[in-house]
Symmetry: C2
Subunit: 317 residues, 2 copies
C-alpha cells in the first residue's frame, strides 16, 4: 500500500533539507586542477561518496524515515534495492530505531549487502527482476505493515535527493550540473531544485550506454521499460520510474550516454588525480563531461559523485 | 652551497602562507563518522592528498621556489627525493618557469618518478643512500648553479609545511594533532605553528616501527643516523634532519611507532569508510590513533593525510 504520488515541490526539498540536517553530512565540494585541465572546464565535485552510508541515497531514505508519523513508523519500513538505497534505508531506520526490511535481487554487490545487514535490516532475497522485487516487497508489506520507501518513485525520496544540489549551489555558481541517472530519484530531485533556484543552470544526466532507456524514453516521449541492462554501473541498471519520467520530461533534462570503458577510465582518473574512491555509477558523470568536451568548454560544471561503495578487492582495472 | 640554517619562526610560516596562497590549494578538512566510532574520538582529516601534486610537499617547495630572488631563481633549483618532494619542486619550478633537477635513488616508486618527469624536471639517478644522493646533488649544483631545496632540512621548506596546520586549526579546535614523521619537515613546521597558535594542542608524530629513528633520537637526546629502514611507508624512510631534530626536541613532540600491518589496515579503512585514497606514509597517522586509543579517547584529533600518490595497480592488500 503506497500513497498516491504527488510531485514534490521546491518547498518539499527545503523541508527535507531541514528534516535531514541533524543526521546527514553536508558533504564537501572538491576540486582537482589536473582534472580541470583534462576536461577543459572548471569542475566542482559534490562528494556524496562521503555522505553517511557512502552515497547520496541517505538523503532520500532519511527524509522518508523521519517523515513518518510515529504510529506508522513503528511498523517499520521496507524497500527493494540492489545496494545503496537499501543500506541508506537500513541506516536511517536504525537511527530512528525502526524495523527495516530490504528485498535484494540475486547478484547484488556483496559489500553493499554486508552494509545493509550491518545496520540491522532483515534481508529478503529474490530473483533479479523488477516483478520479483515488487512481489516480494508487497508480501513483506502484507506480513508486517511496513511502509514502502521506494528507491526512486517516492516523493519523499525525490525531495531528499534534491537537497544535494542545494548544497552544491550554495557553495558554487554553476553553468551546468551533471548527475547520473538510473531510476531517476536524484535526477528528478535535482531538476526540481534547479528550476526553482538556478533556472539558468543546465542539467545533464549521465546514463550507461548499456542501460540508456532514459535517453530513449525522453526521445520517444514515452517510458521505455523493456530492456536488459548491460553495464558495469550496478547502481544504474534500474528502470526510470514513472513519476521520475514525468518530472524529467517536464524539465527538459538532456541525457548523455556513456560507454563503460569511458566510465572505467573516469573512475581511475578520479582515483589518481583527485584521490577519490567513487563507484562506476558515480564516475560516469565525469565520463560524460570528458566524452563531450565541446559542450562544457570553459564552463563551471558541478558533478555529483553519488557514491563510493566499492569493494577494495574488486577495482575494475 | 646552502645558506647556514636559521630556524623558521611562526612569522615565517605566516609569510609562507601568504606566498603560496596564489598557487596552493586550501585543502578540505574531512570527517567520517564510522571512523570516529572506530577510533573513539572525533577525527578531522586534513586532506593534503588533495593538495596540488597530491601531497603537502607542494607547500614547502612552493614557498622555497617563490622565495628566491630573480637572479638566483634563473639558475634553477635542485633536490634529492624519493618521490613527493621531487614532484612538488618540479611543479613549483614549472609554475615559475625555472629549470628543476631532481636526484632520485634507485627503487623509488615508479608513479612518483613519472610525476616528476611530467612536470618537466630533469631526473638524475643515483644509488639509494643518503651519501650518494647528496654527492649527486652537489655535482648538479656545481654544474648548473641551481639552488638546493632540501626536502626537509631547509627553513623555507619547514615554514611552508607549517602552513597546513594553520589551515587545519582555522577549521577546527583540536586537542591533538597527528602527523607522520620521516625527515621531519612537516613535523617541525607543525611544532612551530602549534607552539605559537595552539600551545595546548598536543603534537604526536607517527613513525614506522621499521624506521623509528626519530623515536630513538628523541629518547636518547641525540640524532641516530645509523639505521636501515624497513617499511611500506616509502615517504618515511629518510633520516630525521639535524635542524628538524633540534626543533622537535625543543618542542617536546611525542612519537608513536606503528607497525606496517596497522598502517595497511588504516589505509584500507580510509579507503572503505572515508572513500579517500592515501599513501601508506599518510595512513600511518590514523594507524597511530587506532593503535593507542586510550591516549585519544573522547578528544578532538586532527590527522594530516599527507599524500595520495599511490599506484592504482599496486594497492598493498
Amino acid at each position: 500500500m503506497s500513497a498516491p504520488f504527488t510531485q514534490p515541490t521546491h518547498a518539499d526539498i527545503l523541508s527535507a533539507a531541514a528534516r535531514i540536517a541533524p543526521h546527514a553530512h553536508v558533504t564537501p565540494v572538491l576540486q582537482a586542477r589536473s582534472l580541470d585541465d583534462a576536461a577543459g572546464c572548471a569542475l566542482a565535485f559534490k562528494a556524496e561518496s562521503m555522505q553517511r552510508g557512502g552515497a547520496f541515497k541517505f538523503r532520500g531514505a532519511c527524509n522518508a524515515v523521519y517523515s513518518l508519523e510515529a504510529t506508522i513508523a513503528a511498523r517499520g519500513v521496507v524497500t527493494h534495492s540492489s545496494g545503496n538505497h537499501g543500506g541508506a534505508l537500513a541506516l536511517a531506520a536504525k537511527l530512528r530505531s525502526l524495523p527495516c526490511h530490504v528485498v535484494v535481487p540475486e547478484g547484488a554487490v556483496r559489500s553493499k549487502l554486508a552494509a545493509i545487514e550491518a545496520h540491522g535490516a532483515v534481508l529478503h532475497r529474490c530473483a533479479p527482476t523488477i516483478a520479483a522485487r515488487e512481489a516480494m516487497c508487497a508480501q513483506v508489506q502484507r506480513d508486517t505493515g511496513a511502509d514502502l520507501v521506494h528507491p526512486y518513485a517516492d516523493a519523499r525520496v525525490i525531495a531528499g535527493q534534491g537537497t544535494a544540489v542545494l548544497e552544491l549551489l550554495h557553495a558554487r555558481t554553476l553553468d551546468a550540473v551533471v548527475v547520473p541517472v538510473g531510476g531517476g530519484g536524484l535526477a528528478s530531485g535535482t531538476a526540481i531544485a534547479l528550476a526553482a533556484i538556478a533556472p539558468q543552470t543546465a542539467l545533464f544526466l549521465a546514463e550507461p550506454a548499456g542501460a540508456a532507456e532514459t535517453l530513449l524514453s525522453l526521445q520517444r516521449g514515452e517510458r521505455v521499460t523493456d530492456f536488459t541492462p548491460d553495464t558495469i554501473c550496478d547502481g544504474l541498471r534500474g528502470t526510470l520510474g514513472e513519476p521520475n519520467f514525468d518530472i524529467l520530461r517536464a524539465h527538459g533534462a538532456e541525457v548523455i550516454a556513456v560507454e563503460d570503458d569511458a566510465t572505467r577510465a573516469a573512475m581511475r582518473l578520479l582515483f589518481q588525480r583527485a584521490k577519490l574512491l567513487v563507484e562506476p555509477s558515480s564516475a560516469i558523470a565525469l565520463a560524460a563531461v570528458l566524452a563531450q568536451p565541446a559542450r562544457f568548454a570553459g564552463k563551471r560544471v558541478g558533478v555529483v559523485l553519488t557514491g563510493g561503495n566499492v569493494d577494495p578487492d574488486a577495482l575494475p582495472w
